[in-house]
Symmetry: C2
Subunit: 344 residues, 2 copies
C-alpha cells in the first residue's frame, strides 16, 4: 500500500516526517512511502538514517513550495500549486497513493483535499475526527475544525462518518453518539443545537442525546459530534489545561525535597498519564468524507506521532473506511425523512 507523506509540513519538518517515515517502513512491511517535498533537503535528511533495507519502499517526489502557517488555507491551494501538501494530495487523486498524511497547515489540507479529491457520494462536507483519551478508552470528536459553520444536515453526516470510523478502527458494539451541548435536555443550547438534536434523533445512528463537557471524559458515548468551531475550541482548551495542570503539579513538587522524592517514586504514574493524554499516541486525525484517505498529524508531531499517523492511514485503507461511509449514508438518501429540507 502506497502512502504519500507531506514531508515539509509541521513544526519539525523535514526531520520528524522523515524519521517517522523510516519508523513506519520498519514497522509496517506492507507500506510504501512517497515522501513529498524539497528533493535536496529530503535526500540530505534521509542520509542521516540507515535506509538500505527500506529503499525499495521509499521514494521522494519533489515539490518546490511549502504552505506557511500565515497562508490562508483556500488561497494556498490556488497560489501554491507546487506545495508539498497539494502535491501529496495529487498523488492520491491520480491513484498513485492510497492515502495522504500531513502534519502541515490544517486549513490548507482540508481545502486541498476537498477541492482536489472532492467529497464522497452523499457527503457534502468533510470533517476532522479526533480521538481523545477518556476513562477506559478513547472517544472520537467530530468535527475537530474542518467546518466552522455546518448545517444540521452536515452534522448528521459527521455523526454517521464518526460512527463508521470508530467501529471500523476501534471495534466494539455499535458506537453511541452524543451532541456536544451546554445541557443534557433536548431544549438546551442555541437554535442550531436544537435543530441538530432533532435531526440526529432521526438519523441512522445510535443517538444518546446531548452531552456536556464535564461528563464527556467518563466516556458515556463513543462519538461526540459538533460544529468545527466548537470542536476546535474544545480540543485546544483541554490541550491547554492538560499542559497547565502538568506544569502546576511540577511547580508544586519542586517546593520541597520530600515532594521531589515522592514524585520520583510515582514517576511511572505521571508518565502513564502523560502518555495517555499525549497527542503522539493518537497522532493521526482522519479528514472524513473526502474521496480518498487523508490523515492530519498534529503540527508539533514527533517521529513517533508521524509513524502513528501513517499507521492510522494504513488502518483506514485496510478497513475500507470510505466505502463503509458511503454505505452508511445510504438510508439518509433513500428515506425521504432524512433528506435535506429546503428550509435548512
Amino acid at each position: 500500500m502506497k502512502i504519500a507523506l507531506d514531508a515539509m509540513g509541521g513544526d519539525h519538518s523535514p526531520q520528524s516526517p522523515v524519521a517517522g517515515a523510516v519508523e513506519a517502513l520498519r514497522d509496517f512491511p506492507d507500506v510504501e512511502i512517497l515522501l513529498v517535498g524539497d528533493q535536496t533537503r529530503l535526500q540530505s535528511e534521509l542520509s542521516r538514517h540507515d535506509t538500505r533495507a527500506l529503499q525499495a519502499r521509499l521514494q521522494i517526489r519533489h515539490a518546490s513550495q511549502v504552505v506557511d502557517m500565515a497562508d490562508s488555507g483556500l488561497d494556498s491551494v490556488r497560489r501554491k500549486k507546487d506545495s508539498s501538501i497539494s502535491r501529496a494530495i495529487d498523488l492520491v487523486k491520480s491513484g498513485e497513493a492510497e492515502a495522504v498524511v500531513s502534519a502541515g497547515h490544517t486549513g490548507a489540507l482540508v481545502a486541498a483535499a476537498t477541492i482536489k479529491l472532492r467529497t464522497l457520494p452523499g457527503i457534502d462536507r468533510a470533517a476532522l475526527g479526533v480521538l481523545i483519551p477518556a476513562d477506559g478508552g478513547v472517544f472520537l470528536l467530530i468535527d475537530g475544525g474542518a467546518n466552522l459553520d455546518p448545517s444540521p444536515e452536515h452534522i448528521v453526516g459527521f455523526a454517521v462518518m464518526g460512527s463508521v470510523y470508530y467501529q471500523a478502527i476501534l471495534g466494539g458494539n455499535r458506537a453511541r453518539v452524543g451532541l456536544l451541548n451546554i445541557g443534557t435536555e433536548p431544549t438546551k443550547g442555541t437554535e442550531f443545537a436544537k435543530q441538530c438534536f432533532a435531526r440526529l434523533q432521526e438519523a441512522p445512528i445510535l443517538f444518546s442525546g446531548n452531552i456536556e463537557g464535564h461528563g464527556i471524559f467518563k466516556k458515556p458515548v463513543e462519538v461526540v459530534v459538533c460544529d468545527g468551531f466548537t470542536g476546535n475550541i474544545f480540543l485546544k482548551s483541554i490541550e491547554g489545561l492538560a499542559k497547565a495542570m502538568v506544569g502546576w503539579i511540577k511547580d508544586e513538587v519542586q517546593k520541597s525535597p520530600v515532594r521531589i522524592a515522592g514524585a520520583l517514586l510515582c514517576k511511572g504514574a505521571f508518565q502513564a498519564v502523560k502518555s495517555r493524554t499525549s497527542t503522539e499516541e493518537y497522532g493521526g486525525t482522519p479528514l472524513l468524507g473526502v474521496n480518498g484517505i487523508c490523515i492530519k498529524a498534529h503540527g508539533n508531531s514527533s517521529p513517533v506521532a508521524i509513524r502513528n499517523a501513517i499507521r492510522a492511514a494504513r488502518s483506514a485503507v485496510k478497513n475500507s473506511i470510505n466505502s463503509r461511509i458511503v454505505e452508511a449514508m445510504q438510508p439518509l438518501h433513500e428515506n425521504p425523512l432524512h433528506r435535506e429540507s429546503p428550509a435548512a
Copy 2:
C-alpha cells in the same frame, strides 16, 4: 450591607447555603444575610448551627417554591413567582438587599435577574464572568453561559464589563482582553468571530486580539471574551478534564505500593493543585450588566463555596461595580464609531 441568599438553590440545599451563610456572617462583620426559602426547613437547618452571636444579622424570608433543574429558566420566572430565586431577587429590586447570591438554576437566575432588575443603562445583555485559574493568577471568562446568541455589540459590552470587574476586584494594571477563537490571526474563526474582532479593536478596552485554548492558561490576557455557548462549552470541558486527570493519576498511583508511598510524600503538591483548580475557591460568578449585584455560586457549592460567593457579592458592592460599568460604557454611546450599526 444586606445580602439576599437563595437558600434553596444548588445540589446541597439548604445545608450548604445555610452553613455558608453562617461562615460568612462570622468572617464578615459588615454583612447581614436574608436567607430566602422554606421557613420551616431553614429554621430547622439553622438550629444545627450556633447562631446566637449572629442573630442580629440573620433573617429568614419565606418562599414556598423552588426552581428545579428540569424547569426552563424563563418559564420559572413566570410560573414560580414564589420561588426562592425570584424572591431573593425581589429583595434587591425593592432595595432591601444590596446583592443576591444563588447556587440554583443558572437560567432561572439569569432570566429573573434580567427581567426583574433590568440591565444597566447602556447595557443590552447581562453576562456571567467566571474566574479561572491560570499560571500566576486567574483570568476572567465572559460570557460563561448567560447569552447563547449575542451580537458582536453585546460581545463588546461583555469585554468592557469584564475589564471593569477584573480591575475592580483583582487590581493590577489595565486588564488585557482576548477574544476566544480557533486561531490567533484576525481572519480566523466564524463570520461572527471576525465581526467581534473588528468591533473589539474599536472598543474602549485593551484588546490583545484572538486567543486560543492552548495558550489561555499561560495567562496572556486577564479577560477572555466569547459568546455564552462557547464559554459554557469551554468551562465544562476544562472542568471535566481536570477531574478526569486527577482520577487517572489516582488510578495509576494505585498500581504499586512504591507509587502509593511516593504519592503520600507529594500529597501536599496534589492538594495545592486541587485547591487551585477547585470551583470552591472562585465560588462566586457575577452576572454582570444587571441593575443590581447578582452572584451565581456553582450548583455543587460546599459551605466554603457559598461563603466565597457571599464574599464576591460583598466585594462587588464595596467596589461599586455597577456604577463603574456604566461609566466605562459611556465612550461607546458618545462616540458614533462605537454605536451599534443598523446592519448588525
